[in-house]
Symmetry: C2
Subunit: 305 residues, 2 copies
């Protein structure tokens, strides 16, 4: 694949595949094949590798690798998507009968721990794509059934002609800095003591920077300045592009939106360091976000800068 | 609304509403009202302002302002979306009977020239939202009709229970720098002599930086390093979040994807300066992207840095 993809964390860290979980997929997406039905058909033979999935969950081998079968291993009527080429072989994934659409659950977190970084990246991209197909069997424009086309990078309605494309939702996730403290919040579904960066979907009609400013104002009543992009992460539960930023506020007074957050508070550098060093169990005060979440890297960036 | 939203162009420029077209909307999205059916119903009275649209095209007054009517001015069966609060008044927009989903056309470019920056930002956000509703009257999961809910920030299926949310597609758009030249390309639909920054949708399973590296490799055969985020723009044709980046390549040899691009080439600083100074008609060589497009600002940033 094409060369160095960085971000403000700097080349060295971000170029290391998996430095941010779900990034660094080694698959060549080979987009020219998607639009070439003949080439695509030519690749769907006994050599093709097919990702073994139980619903949306992967089979994982003893080395932290994904398990791949052949086209003979999946249901005859299963739709399949073309993930791309790897080591000269075409890789596919089957669309499950049932969709998911939920946030990461305990089984997802286990998968993140078991899979090697590059395998996790392949799985994440595949999961988002097949889950989208499972949830988009009908045309949103006219209600008719749609068909998978372009190797799974499109669905097409033969009734009204509408074309539908896999969806990726941009989500802003942000540090808020005030002097030597950082604002973190907890959603009701978080485990006890876990706090993380505030976050919210970017909406039609706003820039990334406006979305960040709106979110911190809505969720914590804080006025942001100097919004700065730091790094991004694809998050496959179901298909977000996490856009990590930091911003500064001059007034630390909080007005918490209790429909969105259980709590939000300012943490000192010492409190965050202690929680980071305490690992999974956390400190008495706080469980630091897990390394698979971009929030972990954003907070670590602030601690280490 | 919440305070300063910046980006790498620096606070001064980006804080000026409309420095990037379609940004700087003065509307308070008032998300707490969306989820409160009683509050929402209470705002839908004779005081409510309703955006006057002919399909997706706005009425524009002599001062470059949008024309607003009342709920009495729209069809009784029209769905309406809640845009937010402005000057103490609730603002709404009607969902048109016909969808669009196309790129910007000559009429859209005229609207960009006629509307004042803040009005253009209000229009852009509203357009993306109502166009999404027009194209999503049915449930993609089960094919049943859906209903507008949460003031238009959701559609709900009463048959299968699926919830659908307005869509925003992240698109990466990038400068490619090599020594003192810049790589620009032209899509087949561009006017003669117009070149712009390369661009493409971010896909499931990749970071912003990976999407940039993939796009320049696919479209121009170039290997990118040091991808850096610069600025973003909401683009309402139909609903993209343009994520503007720059990157560097060490090898300027091009392999152009002719299914995507008519041409791509390296421009010198002098060639780009001449085209910028020549305005709308362009130089003999090149028409510079229009000020409404983020590409204009990205290239200007490079020229002025």
């Amino acid at each position: 694949m094409a060369g160095g993809a960085t971000g403000l964390f700097g080349s060295a860290q971000a170029n290391r595949a998996g430095a941010i979980a779900f990034s660094g997929s080694p698959i060549d997406r080979a987009d020219h094949i998607r639009v070439d039905p003949e080439a695509l058909a030519g690749l769907m033979n006994w050599r093709a590798k097919v990702l073994m999935l139980d619903g949306l969950m992967p089979d994982i081998d003893d080395t932290g690798g994904l398990v791949w079968g052949t086209l003979a291993d999946i249901a005859e009527d299963a739709e399949i998507v073309f993930l791309g080429m790897l080591e000269g072989k075409a890789h596919f994934a089957p669309v499950p009968k049932r969709a998911d659409n939920g946030p990461a659950n305990p089984r997802s977190w286990q998968v993140m721990q078991l899979l090697r970084p590059e395998e996790l990246a392949i799985y994440g991209g595949a999961r988002s794509l097949v889950d989208w197909h499972a949830r988009h069997q009908f045309c949103a424009q006219c209600g008719s059934p749609t068909k998978l086309t372009k190797g799974g990078w499109q669905r097409s309605c033969s009734h009204c002609g509408a074309e539908h494309f896999p969806r990726t939702d941009p989500v802003t996730i942000m540090l808020v800095e005030h002097e030597d403290t950082l604002l973190l919040g907890r959603q009701p579904r978080f485990p006890p003591k876990m706090y993380s960066a505030l976050a919210g979907f970017a909406e039609p009609g706003e820039t990334i920077e406006e979305a960040v400013a709106r979110e911190v104002h809505e969720e914590a009543g804080v006025t942001a300045r100097d919004v700065t992009y730091l790094a991004s992460q694809p998050w496959p539960f179901p298909s977000q592009l996490m856009i990590g930023c930091t911003c500064i506020t001059d007034d630390p007074a909080l007005t918490i939106d209790e429909t969105e957050l259980d709590d939000a508070r300012w943490f000192t550098r010492a409190e965050l360091e202690e929680a980071r060093n305490a690992g999974d169990r956390g400190s008495d005060l706080l469980i630091f976000p897990r390394p698979f979440a971009i929030a972990h890297h954003l907070i670590a960036w602030w601690l280490d800068k």
